[in-house]
């Protein structure tokens, strides 16, 4: 069964902006799914429709087979949402926020308090349970929203930019936590601007741009489609121009940094052989951006060029 199925989903706002232009998307039960796209691509609108914070214009949404037009309450009870913006009452205590949220999902107060302890401990917020939410740090506020979303133990957890503005240590702790709840069977849909995050966590990826899905496949298949990668070489000696490399495109970023684009089928050994032959010493090497980021940029760029060509 699909945890989430969107069919021909459209949304046109009152100002005429068509945020979704007929999206078809299926998320398998138990998957860890990345929904990626540039700002304004339609990610948050799609999530808003699924969680009933945005009214759709057309199409259907099913959550574990429950159509939101016919069985809205059942569909809602399957979903936990961690929104992009902080949306809890800043004047309430951490404990009150999570216990009340459980109540809105019909969980009695005794069980809600037990779960509050469980999730606040797991997300390292138990010591701050009596603090007013406004006094928490940015990372703590993000973790509080995750704890709140888990209080009714949803089968589908949707996280919209959950690690935005969070330091790297907290982000990695959150990754571990999300991996563990996914391993326990919770389907997770994640939107993020940190593509390293999506590549690390997710098994399936969809890329949305201009209100359309432009790519949807397993992470492994998507990465296989990457035709070229850019590598950055830190040079031992300063140079004024890039060396000429047969079959490769090379450019100098600065006098000690050389960028070389390596296409699929080409070998890095060949690059090193040519550099050695020209007496160019290399101290270290890295990917310019991570692989998913490279693919994302190329897909979105080609999408905008195609749209531009259509407009002309």
């Amino acid at each position: 069964m699909h945890a989430l199925a969107l069919r021909r989903l459209t949304k046109t706002y009152k100002n005429g902006i068509q945020a979704l232009k007929g999206i078809d998307l299926s998320v398998d039960e138990g998957d860890f799914f990345a929904l990626l796209g540039p700002n304004g691509a339609g990610k948050t609108t799609a999530i808003g429709i699924v969680t009933s914070l945005v009214n759709k214009t057309g199409g259907t949404v099913e959550v574990f087979g429950h159509d939101i037009d016919r069985e809205l309450e059942i569909a809602k009870s399957c979903i936990g949402i961690v929104p992009q913006e902080i949306n809890f009452n800043q004047f309430e205590s951490v404990f009150t926020i999570v216990v009340n949220q459980a109540g809105f999902y019909g969980i009695d107060r005794r069980l809600a308090k037990q779960r509050a302890e469980k999730y606040l401990k797991q997300l390292q917020l138990w010591d701050r349970r009596s603090a007013a939410a406004r006094s928490l740090s940015g990372g703590m506020k993000r973790r509080l929203m995750i704890a709140r979303a888990l209080m009714h133990e949803p089968a589908l957890l949707i996280l919209d930019e959950p690690t935005a503005g969070v330091d790297i240590e907290v982000r990695r702790t959150m990754w571990e936590f999300l991996r563990s709840i996914n391993a326990q069977g919770t389907t997770i849909i994640l939107t993020t601007h940190y593509l390293e995050e999506a590549e690390n966590l997710c098994r399936t990826v969809a890329i949305i741009d201009g209100g359309r899905i432009i790519e949807c496949d397993s992470m492994a298949n998507v990465l296989r489609k990457l035709q070229a990668e850019t590598f950055v070489f830190n040079l031992r000696d300063a140079r004024t121009d890039a060396p000429r490399l047969e079959g490769f495109r090379a450019s100098l970023a600065d006098d000690h940094t050389l960028e070389i684009e390596v296409s699929r089928g080409q070998s890095l050994n060949d690059v090193f052989a040519q550099l050695s032959a020209q007496g160019v010493g290399v101290d270290s090497m890295r990917n310019k951006v991570n692989r998913l980021e490279e693919l994302f940029i190329r897909l979105v760029d080609s999408g905008s060029k195609a749209a531009g060509a259509r407009a002309v």
């Binding site: 914070l53 929104p83 902080i86 949306n87 009452n89 109540g103 809105f104 019909g106 969980i107 009695d108």
Partner: protein, 262 residues
């Protein structure tokens, strides 16, 4: 049977949770919710009751202080029922924590009812406080307890719903103060709180009867003084119709997502 609570039980727990949250809010900001109405009521009793009231004489066969006490209690019930819901709901909308309820499986009619009960709760708290204050200045007999409770309950429901509908349409804080300032307060002051309509010239008597608050104040006053300027059956018909109509409107607006969903 299988340990999964029924939809009915889930809804009941959700409804109780809204009420607990609203109660917590009223208590947390008691300096804004409970104390100011008590101070205002005391000033009204001192100025209109003790100082001016002595020169007014008797109204409807009662001392002026006794006559205005039920009206002042009802005035506090009206403004607090309205004020609680408009500020709580608009605050939740503005601070985005209304989304906690909108994404939950609670049906819209129950969300409306939860907020309305919060308004009724504050209306009754403040009404009780003002009643206690009034007893320091005058005597009040509980002539018809059912009339007192039912009139206060129906009135607070109507104005809590008014606050809810205002908050749904409001886009900023100015728009939640506009209705109380320019509509609610004038209607309340001209709704027979401080005078009997029998004291008015004919045209004002007729115009006053188009004011629904006149019926609410008089139904409530009847509970204490056994006297009313209006037909009580008509008063209850107006209150019940207004409550049912406004509840239906609030639920329709919620279902449409007016002011809360794109």
């Amino acid at each position: 049977m299988n340990g999964v609570p029924s939809r009915l039980r889930c809804d009941w727990i959700g409804f109780k949770t809204i009420i607990i949250r609203e109660f917590g809010r009223i208590v947390r900001i008691w300096g804004q919710t409970i104390v100011p109405p008590a101070v205002t009521a005391t000033l009204y009793f001192i100025i209109f009751g003790s100082l001016i009231g002595r020169r007014v004489g008797r109204v409807g066969g009662y001392e002026y202080m006794q006559f205005i006490a039920p009206g002042l209690i009802m005035m506090s019930v009206i403004t607090n029922s309205y004020g609680n819901v408009v500020s709580s709901f608009f605050g939740a909308k503005f601070g985005k924590h209304l989304e906690e309820l909108l994404v939950s499986p609670l049906p819209n009619w129950l969300i409306v009812l939860g907020y309305v009960m919060g308004g009724v709760m504050r209306g009754f708290f403040v009404g009780t406080v003002v009643t206690i204050v009034s007893l320091l200045f005058t005597r009040l007999a509980l002539a018809h307890v059912f009339a007192i409770v039912s009139a206060a309950l129906l009135t607070s429901i109507v104005f809590a719903l008014g606050g809810f509908i205002n908050a749904m349409f409001a886009k900023n804080f100015d728009q939640i103060s506009w209705f109380p300032t320019f509509v609610l307060t004038p209607l309340t002051y001209l709704g027979g709180v401080f005078y009997s309509t029998k004291m008015l010239p004919n045209w004002a008597f007729v115009v006053s009867h188009a004011n629904p608050i006149l019926y609410m104040v008089n139904a409530f006053r009847y509970g204490f003084l056994s006297t009313s300027d209006v037909n009580l059956t008509l008063a209850y018909a107006i209150m019940v119709t207004a409550a049912a109509g406004m509840f239906t409107l609030a639920v329709v607006l919620m279902n449409r997502g007016t002011g809360i969903r794109e």
